[in-house]
Amino acid sequence: MNDNIYIDCIKEIIHSQMAIIGPMAISQANLSHDIIVDPNLTEVKVTTNGKQALNKLINTYAELFGHISVEVSREAVGKALKKNNIQEDISNIIE
């Protein structure tokens, strides 16, 4: 899976978290240092590798909001994979 797919997954996760916690989803994503997100969620850059950045993001949310954020992230990743027509087991992406 290339980094663009991971970026799509990251975007989808942040989008889903925003529905629950608002703009804090973006500020928390930027705190992980592996991801740079603009305030409107139009551009997402990954500074390390995609899989690592994605899992770090999920952990950042989980530390603050517990298991719910992991469930939300799993669902978001599933949605992003479906949009890209990728048949991949989510557990291979989320550690």
Binding site: A19, I21, G22, P23, G66, H67, I68, E71, V72
Partner: protein, 265 residues
């Protein structure tokens, strides 16, 4: 997690403490009527307005109405402020000499009665934000609470009021059931949230949630007690009664809980 130390929060805390001490002195003097009692009720209505403003202001951190947590805080804030509107109408009846205990009245129609629907809406947002659809499968106690509490509370309401019925006052009969059944439904949603927050919120926001839920529980107790004591057949209620202190505590806890609902250090 730490509560933000804004001036408004400080005023809310000091205000609540002062109201608590004032109530102790009124009760110690056995003062069950008079202008001071009216002022006491008016004072805690102001506290509710302040609390509502604080709750709404705290939704900014969560993007105001753009997130579930923001929507929940706005709903709680509006609920508390709206309740206070009832307090002002009540005070108007008192100070103009129209009624000492205006129940039921416009204070209920335009103020108090809106607390539960608005709080319930806030609870629905919070339940969604805490992952109800994920937790429902896992939280056995949450399911039990959601189903059992409204049933038990409704039975309790009918049991308490089975012998107390005011002939010719359908509005009073309506409100005593409205407050108790509306309260029990909101209570059920609140207790469910407590279970969900235990399993799913990660603990950071739990003190805030506990505070808000406790506020709703106390509001329910206050409503059950008030509608019983203010009933003309019982006639135990007076302005600045202990039920008023319960209402003041409820408004304070919901507002303080909303101000705790933050991740800012």
């Amino acid at each position: 997690m730490k509560r933000s130390s804004s001036l408004l929060n400080w005023v809310l805390d000091i205000g609540f403490l002062s109201i608590g001490m004032w109530w102790v002195t009124i009760t110690a003097r056995n003062q069950t009527s008079g202008v001071e009692n009216y002022y006491f009720n008016l004072a805690y209505a102001f506290l509710g307005t302040l609390g509502g403003i604080i709750a709404i202001a705290h939704s900014k951190e969560w993007g105001w109405w753009r997130s579930l947590y923001g929507k929940a805080l706005i709903s709680f804030g509006v609920a508390v402020a709206w309740w206070s509107l009832g307090g002002y109408i009540w005070a108007y009846y008192n100070f103009t000499g129209q009624s000492d205990i205006p129940f039921p009245s416009n204070a209920d129609h335009f103020g108090f009665a809106w607390f539960y629907p608005l709080t319930f809406i806030g609870m629905v947002f919070l339940v969604k934000g805490l992952g109800f659809k994920y937790a429902w499968k896992k939280s056995k106690f949450g399911k039990i609470a959601l189903i059992a509490i409204p049933i038990l509370a409704t039975f309790a309401t009918f049991y308490i009021y089975k012998d107390i019925r005011v002939e010719g006052s359908s509005l009073l009969n309506f409100y005593k059931y409205f407050y108790n059944i509306g309260g029990s439904l909101t209570l059920a949603a609140s207790i469910t949230i407590l279970f969900l927050s235990k399993y799913f919120s990660g603990g950071k926001l739990r003190p805030a949630i506990v505070c808000i839920v406790l506020g709703v529980v106390i509001q329910y107790i206050a409503d059950v007690t008030f509608t019983y004591r203010a009933n003309p057949q019982i006639a135990l209620y007076y302005n600045a009664d202990y039920t008023d202190m319960l209402y003041a505590t409820s408004l304070y806890l919901v507002s303080a809980g909303a101000s705790l609902f933050t991740l800012k250090k």
